[in-house]
Symmetry: C2
Subunit: 326 residues, 2 copies
């Protein structure tokens, strides 16, 4: 299976790492909007191609994994590329997913291609677990906790404050809240009850740290609804202790069954990830296998993780899966 | 959707409870090999029918959920009923699943029906999570821990010992082993390292308790490979404290990604169930919805949970799922 990577940031590199670990896959090319000569891949002998030339690769790519940003890249890229390629993206703007779905569906159907949007872990594996758990236990409540992990959006928001050189924001679930849910309670939470935010900031020399701190903790939507702590650290400390991109979290559903709702049932799916982009990339790669199979069967148009039969994700033959995993 | 229940033990009752919680479903009839008059259902106005008359219901049942035992019932029942009905079973004899699959596939294809075997939580949701996690992280290890929960097979084994009136066996995961796995280690375990067994026994008056204890802890396969503790209790205590059927457990995959395998990734799916049969019944019911849809599409033959597109489990329309769960 020949895979193309479109965009070579953290996520693209995560996809590249995962392709190497799947023996039925091959990285065919990396496409970039930067100067191809400026990129040094981790895989030997793979061409780096200008994004402008991508249509020349129409017959050499089975699935193109689009590793762009959700804010401005993917809403354009995915529908436009889905006309010519089977594609997978990780579009994560939850409130706009239906629009993105419809745009991509139209293009993919026109081109006779299969497109999978909003793949990864949230949206993605977390969504799947919300669906499965909700179908099994209709009378219940869903809870999603994120972290402990680096939120790139929140880190970027801090970096835009005057006097800030660098910043890293960790989203941290409130343990007491997680414990109440695991215990089968059905509490109603505010944003503040569920998560807190820890910020590590490198400030310019002489900057007013109290003003920076205040600007962070009062920032609407990003920080104001949460308990936020701000630590000022040196650039060296940032590099030494905060260079990684860990993340994770839990999707928990609690509900009731039985006469008189007498029995609590708790379902939890939990991720503890040293590297968010490498995990996300790994999810995209195994779903790319399923996209390729659906395309071969003529099942075109836009799909979500909900449409993918689990067996299609696996490189193993069906009898093997039944004998060893069921 | 008209659902039939074949067999009205703990699992059949769990299925009945779940059907009430799904507004698109209706319990059409309960089929039994016992005298129909001896059964009192929890649902008003539903006929109890002798298993001998089941073929008269061919056109009135969309999916038949077969709630028989895996040892002797299901290997016969499922292939034979799959000729005439769309069916779901919870066959859990892991080493014989492929044989059961082939027998059921043949019948279902002959009858133009859709059959789902080995549904529930293990096999079932645990199997799905082993598949998903293994596809995402190919370089890793799987661990399944069961409990704390009642094992019916082990309880029955104790009851067969001379001098034993009643018994309840709890399978208990060894917490230190679970913690090591959650921590991303990749240990190799013996059976004893992973689980211990706690037995509560009501003995006949005057029975030799030390002999009973020894017969339990030395029983090959069932208890000998584990650290087993035996508590002798009164019949009243058994009834008061051990009447429920809780269970659960965790499927954990740990693996590595990144250059030099530098990043640990841990995926855990965890169930904490007050009632094992009610949870299993709830899983069977939502998968019955998917079976009905596949049958409507003409997708006949034997299926496993790996073949079922998650969206087919849900009563909600596709756009709702995309907008609210993705």
């Amino acid at each position: 299976m020949n895979i193309g990577i479109y965009g070579y940031g953290n996520l693209g590199k995560g996809v590249e790492d995962s392709i190497k670990r799947n023996s039925d896959m091959k990285l065919a090319a990396v496409f970039t909007r930067r100067s191809p000569a400026s990129l040094k891949l981790a895989t030997e002998g793979v061409p780096v191609v200008s994004a402008d030339d991508i249509l020349c690769w129409k017959d050499k790519i089975d699935v193109l994994i689009i590793c762009g940003g959700s804010a401005t890249d993917l809403p354009e890229m995915t529908p436009s590329l889905a006309k010519h390629f089977n594609v997978v993206d990780s579009y994560d703007n939850h409130s706009e997913i239906l629009t993105h779905f419809k745009n991509t569906d139209k293009s993919a159907l026109e081109g006779g291609k299969t497109a999978l949007i909003s793949c990864g872990w949230d949206p993605g594996m977390f969504s799947l677990n919300r669906l499965y758990a909700g179908c099994i236990i209709p009378d219940g409540n869903d809870y999603t906790f994120w972290g402990k992990g680096v939120s790139q959006g929140h880190s970027d928001a801090i970096r835009r404050i005057e006097g800030v050189i660098d910043a890293r924001q960790y989203t941290v679930p409130v343990e007491e809240a997680v414990d109440r849910v695991r215990n089968g309670e059905a509490p109603e939470f505010t944003a503040r009850d569920k998560h807190k935010r820890e910020c590590y900031v490198v400030a310019e020399e002489g900057a007013d740290k109290e003003r920076i701190r205040r600007e962070i903790v009062t920032m609407p939507a990003y920080f104001e609804p949460y308990d936020t702590t701000v630590h000022f650290i040196s650039a060296e400390e940032m590099k030494a202790n905060h260079a990684e991109l860990p993340h994770g979290g839990s999707v928990i559903r609690t509900g009731r069954t039985g006469l008189g709702d007498s029995h609590k049932q708790v379902i939890e799916y939990k991720l503890t990830l040293d590297s968010n982009p490498e995990f996300t990339g790994s999810v995209l790669v195994c779903f790319a296998r399923a996209v390729s199979r659906m395309a071969e069967r003529g099942d075109f148009g836009c799909k979500t993780v909900f449409d993918m039969a689990p067996a299609d994700l696996s490189s193993q033959p069906r009898e093997e899966i039944i004998a060893h995993l069921l």
